[in-house]
């Protein structure tokens, strides 16, 4: 699935350079952004505690369009306040993400919200620490799910 998502960006205008963007993914901003999407709760840790940002950066290293997209997106995030996104207060970060969640998905903010959310939850909810919180074994085998089921 991830490769299909990344491929959807190939040649897409949203994966092209923004004026002033360096082509470098701001990992601190990406991590802070993912923590707004996936904060800690009573059962599971925040995305940053599971290095989901690192997973995305690693994945992006195999997909130049996605790497560029993350670079452009984190650069855009860093332009939304008086300092880099990761230095903003949590409430300011949440306001930005709330606006992005409602943005047209054919624009950079809307597209960034959708794709980073999709790929972020895929890495996050694949972690054994998270699976345990759902009462699941780390993997369906070898135990399976012997009946009965209620």
């Amino acid at each position: 699935m991830l490769s299909a998502l990344a491929a959807s960006l190939s040649g897409h205008a949203l994966a092209q350079q923004l004026p002033g963007a360096s082509g470098r993914i701001d990992k601190q901003t990406l991590g802070a952004y993912l923590d707004v999407l996936l904060p800690a709760d009573d059962l599971t840790p925040a995305a940053s505690a599971l290095n989901v940002a690192g997973d995305l950066v690693q994945f992006a290293s195999e997909s130049p369009p996605f790497r560029q997209f993350l670079a452009v997106g984190t650069h855009w995030l860093n332009q939304t306040g008086r300092g880099p996104f990761h230095t903003l207060s949590l409430s300011d970060q949440e306001r930005v993400v709330e606006w992005m969640s409602k943005a047209d998905r054919n624009t950079l903010p809307g597209r960034f919200f959708l794709l980073v959310r999709l790929i972020g939850v895929e890495f996050y909810y694949s972690k054994p620490e998270v699976a345990r919180a759902f009462g699941l074994n780390p993997a369906p085998q070898p135990a399976g799910y012997p009946p009965p089921w209620q």
Binding site: P140, P142, Q150
Partner: protein
């Protein structure tokens, strides 16, 4: 180039039909068989990812040569008036935004390898509706089969017994006896909810007949209900051809399998016979003599090979009559339902509209399946990606509250042959061996659109009756092409002018050429999974050869 003539029969393709069932039957009769398989072998204990923590991120594995080359031609243009049939989910919105129908990520969904697409199938073991054998005679549409259900029924019994099929079907025309079936599998929580919903709507449901063991058999364990048949079964309880027919055939010592060996052309011999096949194996060319040749490469690659070789096509029907899988799925969450990710995929089925003519105004039938596990709603990744929208603390709370409450129901329906739907040689694209790839053209007819809309309506009604307040994901054949089953491109029939093979699968034009895959189906049936019928036809063909 060596010429080897050490075999009684050569089979191209190690899938469900000839490669599995016919090879087993021929070897059981003492014949020496060579299978030439373009794909690799899969090792269930190594290749299937179901013990890995990231299992949900991975589908059935791909290996070198495990996918045949295909391209897509005309798949149809969308009428915006049918947008109620668009694929969408609550997270991503519309999944396809094109004026034309496009291949989905799965597209022609198949596995090339020892076991073929049975490696990734969920293992439904269906007998074709007896009334589907005479669709043209009874309803004036499509084509008749040149054999009856009664001709095939003994071979269904043979295959069910060899594979190990579990189920407790309602008695009826297609079940004169079920004494050879294993005990029925328990129903998942979502299947039980659909069964109750069906009662409210007057749609009877029953346990599906499944090629998954409920009791150990032939050294294979019973299923432990991990729900991931489509990712490959690491236990071997699923009745894929590699662990059933092919394993038994290899145990005779009479079966040889060449893997990663692509046949590129059939070579005519003396008279109206195929003398040999040529191809590439591990980078080297080969030529293999064949007293009898059985083609079993599926409804896309089989016609491709015949067209490339320019044989068996005096009727002009090779590649024509392509029938795709007409499908629809609706999914939602039902408050209070738990553990719907546990159980056997496609564990319950409704045949209420399977009889030809039973859908109002339409000739073709359909069936409905409890599909929660089959469509992958088995882990939190699927929920977060498809059914539970939002972000932040509220989203995570919804995830914890709703996991295990998904219900999916799917309809699969009859496709009627149409002149716009066919497999041809791509005029431009060739594979690594320089052979033109198979180009799939498949357009939805008015019949298909009407049946699709009927199936969507029934699926939505079933979810509502099950207590689902909002449909959160839907997809089907309207805006994307997905064919897990493909049929019809080398139709069987009695008339050589309108069909490619006879009732036993022998080419009308070639004395020693047989076809044993779904390309011979004159009609698709009303949504039945075709593997068991392919296998029954293959065993019948093998018995004919031996006789």
């Amino acid at each position: 180039m060596a010429v080897d003539g050490a075999y009684d029969a050569v089979i191209i393709g190690a899938g469900a039909g000839a490669g599995g069932a016919a090879a087993w039957r021929l070897c059981s009769h003492g014949l020496r068989v060579l299978i030439i398989e373009a794909g690799p072998r899969f090792d269930p204990s190594v290749d299937y990812p179901l013990t890995n923590a990231d299992w949900e991120r991975r589908g059935f594995p791909t290996k070198p040569n495990s996918q045949g080359a295909v391209s897509y031609g005309d798949l149809g243009t969308l009428d915006p008036g049918d947008v109620d049939l668009a694929a969408k989910n609550t997270v991503s919105g519309r999944l396809f935004n094109n004026p034309k129908r496009v291949p989905s990520a799965a597209g022609y969904s198949h596995v090339q390898g020892v076991g073929g697409s049975t490696l990734h199938y969920v293992g439904e073991a269906h007998r074709l509706n007896p009334a589907s054998f005479s669709l043209a005679s009874d309803h004036g549409i499509g084509a008749d089969w040149p054999l009856s259900f009664e001709d095939l029924e003994p071979f269904y019994v043979t295959c069910e017994t060899e594979i190990g099929v579990a189920g407790a079907p309602e008695s009826g025309a297609r079940w004169p006896s079920d004494a050879h079936l294993q005990p029925v599998h328990p129903l998942s929580t979502s299947a039980r909810a659909l069964e109750k919903a069906g009662r409210l709507l007057g749609m009877a449901w029953e346990p599906n007949t499944r090629a998954a063991l409920s009791e150990p058999k032939d050294g294979r364990p019973n299923c432990n209900y991990c729900g991931n048949c489509g990712r490959g079964c690491p236990l071997g309880d699923k009745g894929s051809a590699d662990v059933t027919f092919i394993r038994k055939a290899e145990a005779t010592g009479l079966l040889t399998i060449w893997t990663d060996a692509q046949v590129t052309r059939l070579v005519s011999g003396q008279g109206v016979r195929i003398g040999s096949v040529i191809g590439l194996r591990n980078g080297a060319s080969f030529e293999q003599e064949t007293p009898v040749l059985i083609l079993a490469a599926g409804a896309v690659q089989t016609p491709r090979l015949l067209l490339v070789s320019d044989v068996a096509n005096s009727s002009g029907q090779v590649g024509r009559n392509f029938m795709e899988t007409l499908g629809w799925t609706s999914s939602g969450l039902r408050a209070g339902l738990m553990n719907s990710h546990k159980g056997l995929p496609a564990d319950a089925v409704s045949w209420a509209y399977n009889n030809p003519g039973s859908v109002p105004g339409l000739a073709g039938g359909c069936r409905f399946t409890a599909s929660t596990q089959e469509v992958g709603l088995m882990g939190p990744v699927a929920y977060a990606s498809r059914l539970v929208d939002g972000y932040g603390a509220a989203f995570k709370a919804q995830m914890h509250r709703n996991f295990g409450s998904a219900i999916s129901v799917s309809g699969t329906g009859e496709t009627i042959p149409d002149e716009r739907s066919f497999v041809a040689l791509d005029p431009e694209q060739v594979d690594d061996a320089g052979v033109p790839v198979a180009q799939i053209n498949s357009v939805l007819t008015d019949h298909s659109l009407a049946l699709l809309r009927f199936m969507a309506g029934r699926c939505r009604a079933l979810l509502a009756a099950a207590g689902v307040e909002e449909v959160l994901e839907e997809y089907g054949s309207w805006d994307s092409f997905t064919a897990t089953h493909a049929f019809g491109t080398c139709r069987m029939g009695n008339d050589p002018a309108t069909s490619v093979v006879d009732a036993f699968g022998r080419a009308h034009d070639i004395e020693n050429l047989y076809i044993a895959d779904a390309s011979v189906f004159p009609s698709s049936g009303g949504g039945e999974a075709p593997a068991l019928t392919i296998q029954a036809l293959a065993v019948r063909l093998a018995d004919r050869l031996v006789a």
